[in-house]
């Protein structure tokens, strides 16, 4: 127990939280953009998986992490555009189309991996490149903060910088404002000459790009290989983060950190003598509990208001 507590209150643990938050935060930010654009993207999971796979395969083939990253991004954006095409042009239901993409991603990635490597489980037999880890001069020597802030993966930095970037995009830039207008009242947007269809294409493409970064991080940052279903539900946890975060960039980040914390805990406890299966449930249970607490808080607030009124003296 003592050992566990010590582990939790260490800088390495905080650094680990940031590390495992990254692949939740990136798709969550993407999902947030899509959600606010009125095109809820529940294909984040599948997009991450496809990007993770494409990134690793290209990086193995070319031995360049940058080409791997590009391939992952391209795959993610293209998948999101396919979803957009189904929904916006062919008028298919976006939820059903997204489910189809998720299923296709799960089976399709492992099929491609098998075709290329003969292995049905993962690409770990082959050497993939990894996105660089960055040592920040000066900061890395600060005690305590140094190991947290420095030495993270490039994509972890990008994820947290993206929080500000997405906020600026959504609330300060024309394109982002138009996108939110389309999401809230498409008729209003259309009546002032905003092209609803292209804004929603943009929203889905951006969500695809951000989810793709999350996927690439998983296979080329967190580890150095692609494994079957390696996203393990992060694309769905990301969706929960968006709602818990009140559909704002900052709130989404905080919610993602909470989930990251839960996952880091489960990794940490996994090293101890707690049954593995129990420990692995932690992130998912945390998600469930968070959603229940959120609903309860909302209700409590309403009841408190009523009570306050009841107690007010009648004039």
């Amino acid at each position: 127990m003592e050992q566990a507590l010590q582990a939790i209150f260490s800088a390495t643990f905080v650094a680990a939280v940031l590390r495992v938050t990254t692949p939740i935060l990136l798709p969550a930010l993407g999902g947030l953009i899509a959600e606010l654009g009125g095109v809820a993207n529940i294909a984040l999971e599948g997009i991450m998986l496809i990007s993770a796979c494409a990134g690793v395969l290209v990086s193995i083939a070319t031995q360049s992490e940058w080409l791997g990253l590009l391939a992952g991004l391209a795959a993610g954006i293209i998948t999101a555009l396919v979803l957009a095409f189904f929904h916006l042009d062919l008028k298919a239901d976006i939820i059903l189309s997204a489910i189809a993409i998720n299923i296709l991603a799960s089976g399709g990635t492992i099929f491609v991996v098998f075709l290329l490597t003969g292995d049905k489980g993962s690409t770990s037999a082959l050497v993939s490149r990894q996105m660089p880890f960055i040592e920040i001069p000066i900061i890395k020597d600060i005690p305590l903060l140094g190991p947290i802030l420095s030495g993270q993966n490039l994509l972890t930095y990008i994820a947290f910088i993206a929080v500000a970037g997405v906020a600026i995009f959504l609330y300060r830039m024309r394109a982002g404002i138009h996108l939110r207008a389309v999401g809230e009242n498409p008729d209003a947007a259309r009546s002032v000459g905003i092209n609803v269809r292209s804004q929603q294409y943009l929203a889905l493409a951006l969500s695809g790009a951000l989810a793709a970064l999350g996927g690439v991080y998983l296979s080329m940052g967190y580890v150095k290989f692609f494994a079957r279903d390696m996203t393990a539900g992060r694309g769905f946890i990301a969706l929960a983060a968006i709602f818990l975060g009140g559909k704002t960039p900052l709130g989404t980040m905080i919610a993602a950190l909470v989930f990251g914390l839960a996952e880091a805990l489960s990794v940490q406890l996994g090293n101890l003598r707690v049954p593995n299966q129990l420990v692995q449930m932690i992130p998912y249970i945390a998600t469930l509990i968070a959603l229940v607490v959120y609903a309860l808080v909302q209700r409590q607030r309403a009841i408190a208001h009523q009570r306050r009124f009841r107690q007010a003296p009648t004039p």
Partner: protein, 531 residues
């Protein structure tokens, strides 16, 4: 794609000095579902005038204006601006040619501020970024210039309806509109707000704008417009100067027959007490107290009207009685039995019928058929169900009878209600509610957005139900409507009943208006003496 339909009354080239600012010639519009909405309509608007467009529900007014604003393409016909032929294929093209439109349903983004809404789509920007300060300044300047007061930094979803409408007008003006189309702008406004709107419209005319104004309220039309065009069944049946027109004539042109604007009714034969409400209190989930001790009584065979500026608790009062909201405290009794806290179905089974204020969301299921909408409150009972199975024949018979009795204009009962015009949708609701043989009928805004023919019909039905002994609670924002229909009249202000008149005889709108605004209140003992 548009073929010019030859038209005998095209103006000759000689009177080009008087060439209208906007002219729509021979416009025909057939919607993809085959509805003929406009048939060879020729419509001209002169620069600097206020031109009213009137007609029954579904006559094609909004369609004609949507064509002018580029939201719909005409199947045939041509548009001329300042005498020159032009094409308008999108709202964007309309905007660049100086045409702006305020829609029947507001087109605002709820979570955006007023300034953001006004500049949306054409924001002042620096590179890819929106210059928020410039937007706020522009909105404030425009508001000042046209005397349309708004708070640029307030979120649109928290400001009153009247202000939202000013935002819509400013939105059009910001885009440089010279011709402003207002589609039923007063349907949602209180009399005060309507008055303010009219003052603003006059000001727009003074600075050289032109206004096209759609309304079902003929007295408003007579008050504000210079010329009036009347549509009936997709055709334009005539354009009159104001001095040639009067309400009776316009009504006749719209409906195609004589319309009785006055309500004929005999004195009420008041029966026993049906609805008793005492000290009813209600607060919203967020703690806003809306009903602060409302008491009233409705007797069999009478219409108790509730007048009041909208938003003073009328909506909540109606919904609490109908079982749609739970009161905090107080008494609601129907024929001596408490119905407070019952579910809407139980309340209905106790004998309460409810014509809801918002028919689109609470009155009908838009995608369900007329047949289905007519039995939603009774489908579990005989003869519509037997042994747990629905009986289509009985359901169809019921709808045929009601379509006939209530003159619902529809080819047959299998049509989805969403395909009907506003007035006919309302008839479906009224038919269902009255045929449930209620002891108490709650009618909330029964004629809102409904044309003059259908309004006349609603009024007849309400009076007929009253004469048959139904107790009626009538809530309406239309003061002249409640005053002429009610036997007794209550006035609501800030969640309270502030006046109760035992008769509407000799009562003036001005007098009632003072109570509505809260400047006058009756003493509690006087109100109680009229319970």
């Amino acid at each position: 794609m548009s073929t010019h339909a030859p038209h005998p009354t095209s103006p000759s080239a000689t009177d080009s000095a008087a060439a209208p600012l906007v002219e729509m010639r021979g416009i025909t519009k057939i919607y993809p579902n085959g509805v003929l909405a406009n048939h060879e309509v020729t419509f001209a608007v002169r620069a600097g005038e206020i031109h009213a467009l009137v007609g029954e529900n579904g006559a094609g007014k909004s369609t004609l204006m949507k064509i002018l604003y580029g939201m719909e393409r005409p199947s045939a016909g041509q548009i001329f601006l300042r005498g020159k032929p032009t094409t308008i294929h999108s709202p964007h093209e309309a905007i660049t040619q100086g045409i702006g439109m305020v829609h029947q349903n507001f087109m605002l983004v709820p979570s955006f501020t007023i300034a953001e809404n006004i500049v949306l789509g054409t924001e002042p920007s620096r590179g890819a970024f929106v210059d928020r300060r410039a937007a706020i300044a522009a909105a404030a300047q425009l508001a000042q210039q046209y005397g349309l007061s708004v708070d640029p930094e307030a979120r649109v979803d928290v400001v009153p309806v009247g202000m939202r409408q000013r935002v819509e007008i400013l939105k059009a003006l910001y885009r440089g509109a010279d011709v402003l189309i207002l589609d039923e702008p007063t349907a949602v406004l209180t009399p005060q707000e309507t008055h303010e709107l009219f003052t603003a419209i006059q000001r727009l005319i003074q600075v050289g704008k032109t206004v096209i104004f759609i309304s079902h309220k003929l007295h408003e039309v007579m008050e504000i417009s210079d010329r009036i065009s009347v549509m009936r069944d997709a055709r334009l049946v005539g354009t009159l100067d104001k001095h040639e027109a009067n309400e009776r004539l316009l009504a006749k042109m719209m409906v195609g027959r004589e319309v009785f604007l006055n309500i004929e009714k005999t004195p009420a034969q008041r029966g026993p007490l049906v609805l008793k409400v005492r000290n009813l209190e209600y607060a919203t989930e967020t703690g806003v107290e809306v009903l602060k001790g409302v008491s009233l009584s409705v007797y069999a065979g009478e219409i108790l009207g509730i007048a009041g500026v909208e938003g003073n608790g009328q909506t909540e009062l109606v919904e609490v009685i109908a079982g749609l909201r739970t009161p905090l405290s107080g008494v609601i009794e129907l024929n001596g039995k408490s119905i407070a806290g019952l579910t809407p179905r139980q309340v209905r089974q106790a004998g309460v019928a409810h014509i809801p204020e918002d028919r689109l969301t609470n009155g009908v299921a838009l995608t369900a058929s007329i047949q289905e909408n007519l039995i939603v409150d009774r489908y579990t009972r005989e003869p519509f169900t037997r042994g747990g199975l629905m009986r289509p024949a009985a359901i169809a018979r019921n709808s045929e009878a009601l379509i006939e009795a209530y003159a619902i204009r529809a080819p047959d009962g299998s049509l989805p209600v969403g395909a009907l015009s506003g007035g006919n949708m309302q008839k479906v609701v009224v038919a269902r509610e009255l045929s449930s043989q209620p002891k108490l009928l709650i009618a909330a805004q029964p004629t809102r957005g409904v044309d003059i023919g259908a309004t006349e019909f609603m009024h007849e039905q309400l009076v007929r139900a009253r004469n048959a002994g139904v107790a009626i609670l009538l809530v309406s924002a239309d003061l002249s409507e409640v005053m002429s229909l009610s036997d007794r009249l209550a006035v609501m202000h800030a969640g309270r009943i502030v006046a109760l008149f035992p008769s509407t005889e000799g009562l003036t709108e001005e007098e009632v208006g003072l109570y509505m605004l809260g400047t006058k209140t009756m003493s509690q003992s006087e109100i109680e003496s009229h319970w």
